[in-house]
């Protein structure tokens, strides 16, 4: 097969796969369900209590996909993080989601502290130390109106009829809440949410505290690998999972 034919076939396959994850559709099939345990531990203990609090909670191995190149000028990226381990628990009126994934590169920094005084009153200003680094990050996305819909929103940040909430955590810049109604519409609400992250032995462990979501809600996960220059839609994503 000539290269041009190959690329046509490849484009068709890519288009089909894009269509399946880009559009709002029927509920995900069985096998994409996440069991949610009602934990005897408190939400705070699950968030800050270390691994012991999560020992009894079943882990689900969720496959991650790499977004196809979004722009002509994108550098190619390989699948370095093939999956994320997910644990979910209900406690104290909250839903706690623990994401655990292997990432040998720890792409996070402590940003220099910016003094409270206005910069024009200071002789020394805080410097930009590097302009070309990107940081590890992860997110949990779910419908803004959980449970009220029969179909799942578009995986590409929802769609006009199906807005989504995104709980986004960045290893350097922290937790931030976002809303979106389709690709390119993401807005930061300016609010934060409780999160706890640790990086040990090449593993990220990030626990998100979400509002309690009813059984049957679809959730999806995303992981960004800073060393692969991930940001924006250049990332790893899972397909929708259903909370049991």
């Amino acid at each position: 097969m000539r290269t041009s034919q190959l690329s046509i076939v490849a484009s068709a396959v890519l288009l089909l796969s894009l269509m399946t994850w880009a559009q709002a559709g029927a509920k995900p099939a069985a096998g994409q369900s996440l069991s949610v345990v009602a934990s005897p531990a408190s939400a705070d203990n699950l968030l800050h209590g270390g691994p012991a609090a999560w020992n009894q909670i079943v882990v689900k191995h969720v496959a991650l996909n790499r977004t196809p190149p979004l722009y002509d000028t994108d550098e190619p990226a390989t699948l370095e993080i093939p999956s994320v381990d997910v644990r979910t628990a209900r406690a104290g009126g909250k839903l706690l989601v623990q994401l655990n994934w292997r990432d040998p590169t720890h792409d996070a920094i402590a940003l220099p502290e910016v003094p409270d005084t206005p910069p024009e009153t200071r002789f020394r200003k805080v410097q930009t130390e590097a302009d070309d680094r990107f940081f590890d990050a992860a997110a949990v996305m779910f419908p803004a109106k959980p449970g009220s819909d029969a179909i799942a929103p578009s995986l590409q940040m929802g769609d006009a009829e199906h807005p989504v909430e995104i709980y986004y955590w960045n290893a350097t810049r922290g937790a931030m809440l976002m809303q979106a109604q389709g690709r390119g519409t993401t807005r930061r609400s300016g609010q934060s949410f409780p999160v706890n992250s640790t990086y040990q032995n090449g593993q990220w462990n990030v626990i998100f505290e979400l509002p309690d979501l009813p059984s049957g809600t679809t959730v999806a996960f995303a992981v960004w690998n800073g060393s692969q220059k991930d940001r924006d839609g250049r990332k790893y994503f899972s397909v929708w999972q259903v909370l049991e």
């Binding site: 979004l70 722009y71 002509d72 000028t73 550098e75 940003l111 220099p112 910016v114 910069p119 024009e120 200003k125 805080v126 410097q127 930009t128 130390e129 590097a130 302009d131 070309d132 680094r133 810049r173 390119g184 993401t186 940001r231 924006d232 839609g233």
Partner: protein, 333 residues
């Protein structure tokens, strides 16, 4: 396309390399946290490395309607900020001289006045650079957040700091590398053509402060403006790297004066001080015609005639050099 387009012309024959424009800009706009390395306006020696280093060879811009790839310049290309060990020398009694740390290896105007050789003669000139506020901005196309927009009323290209999320696709796309990332705020920043000043009838800070009086500002579509006359009537100003496809709105009168040593009586094109190849590299093939026109204007005055174009380039007063029309570009609410 915007309804109007502000533009700037810089006459490179008059630039002293004094960096007054750079400081005017820096004091006004980039004296904040995270902006230390940002020079929305910089002046670099040409031929030379430029700022960031080798920006003209990195990539970006358009080709056949598609954005062209480019890596991000690194802080090694901009130069790391350094500090001097004054405390050790002045208060701790250390005998060694005051030294910068980390060792400076690059910086803005790092190779000042080095230039190049034209046969056996050294030559250089200064190239002041701001954002080109392009008609077809590659940065705007590259931004997935749609945080960059071209103001409809005056064509100035700005980054909405609320929408920007610091993805830096714009920096890659800009063939002039005139967008800078602020790691403190996590957002990208660039020259705003001093639009808050223009809206109050004041010309850009870099142009207002220029002791060489080499900057001309006005609307390209205003027949009364000096930029309209220099670019479209006299046709003696050209954009930088036109082949990058963004259609810049900053134009340069190429350096053609003074003549090379001992070439009295020869045409500048016959024995140029600055090699024509280098000027063609910067300004494209049209630079030949521009130099021919400039030479003809010069000859006219040398023979006792009057040249409108050269009179304008002298730019004796602010009224000649600047034509700011705030009433024309105010947003209609």
């Amino acid at each position: 396309m915007s309804r109007h387009q502000y533009a700037m012309v810089m006459d490179l024959n008059k630039c002293l390399g004094c960096q007054t424009c750079t400081i005017a800009c820096k004091k006004l706009w980039t004296d904040r946290d995270g902006t230390g390395y940002m020079y929305w306006n910089n002046v670099e020696t040409r031929p030379g490395l430029g700022y960031p280093r080798q920006w003209d060879r990195i990539g970006g811009g358009w080709k056949d309607g598609s954005l062209q790839p480019s890596p991000l310049p690194t802080m090694d290309d901009y130069g790391h900020a350094w500090e001097y060990n004054y405390e050790q020398r002045l208060y701790e009694g250390k005998k060694q001289p005051v030294m910068p740390s980390p060792e400076p290896k690059s910086g803005c105007n790092w190779d000042e006045d080095v230039g190049g050789m034209n046969e056996d003669e050294n030559y250089f000139f200064y190239l002041p650079r701001i954002c080109n506020h392009c008609t077809y901005p590659a940065c705007l196309e590259a931004c997935p957040r749609k945080a960059i927009y071209k103001r409809e009323e005056d064509g100035i290209v700005v980054i909405d700091q609320d929408r920007c999320q610091g993805y830096r696709y714009c920096i890659k796309a800009c063939p002039y590398k005139k967008i800078y990332f602020n790691e403190v705020t996590g957002k990208s920043e660039k020259c705003i053509f001093c639009y808050p000043r223009l809206e109050k009838g004041q010309v850009n800070a870099c142009a207002a402060q220029c002791p060489g009086r080499l900057r001309f500002v006005g609307l390209l579509d205003d027949p009364e403006s000096p930029v309209h006359k220099l670019v479209l009537v006299h046709k003696i100003a050209l954009p930088l790297f036109p082949e990058k496809g963004t259609q810049p709105n900053v134009f340069y009168v190429p350096p053609f004066n003074p003549p090379k040593r001992e070439n009295y009586g020869k045409s500048i094109q016959e024995d140029p001080r600055v090699p024509l190849d280098y000027l063609m590299y910067l300004f494209g093939p049209d630079v030949k015609d521009v130099i021919t026109r400039l030479e003809a204007e010069l000859k006219k005055t040398q023979e006792g005639g009057r040249s409108e174009a050269l009179q304008l380039l002298i730019g004796r007063d602010a009224e000649t050099r600047f034509h700011v029309l705030p009433q024309l570009v105010q947003i209609q609410l």
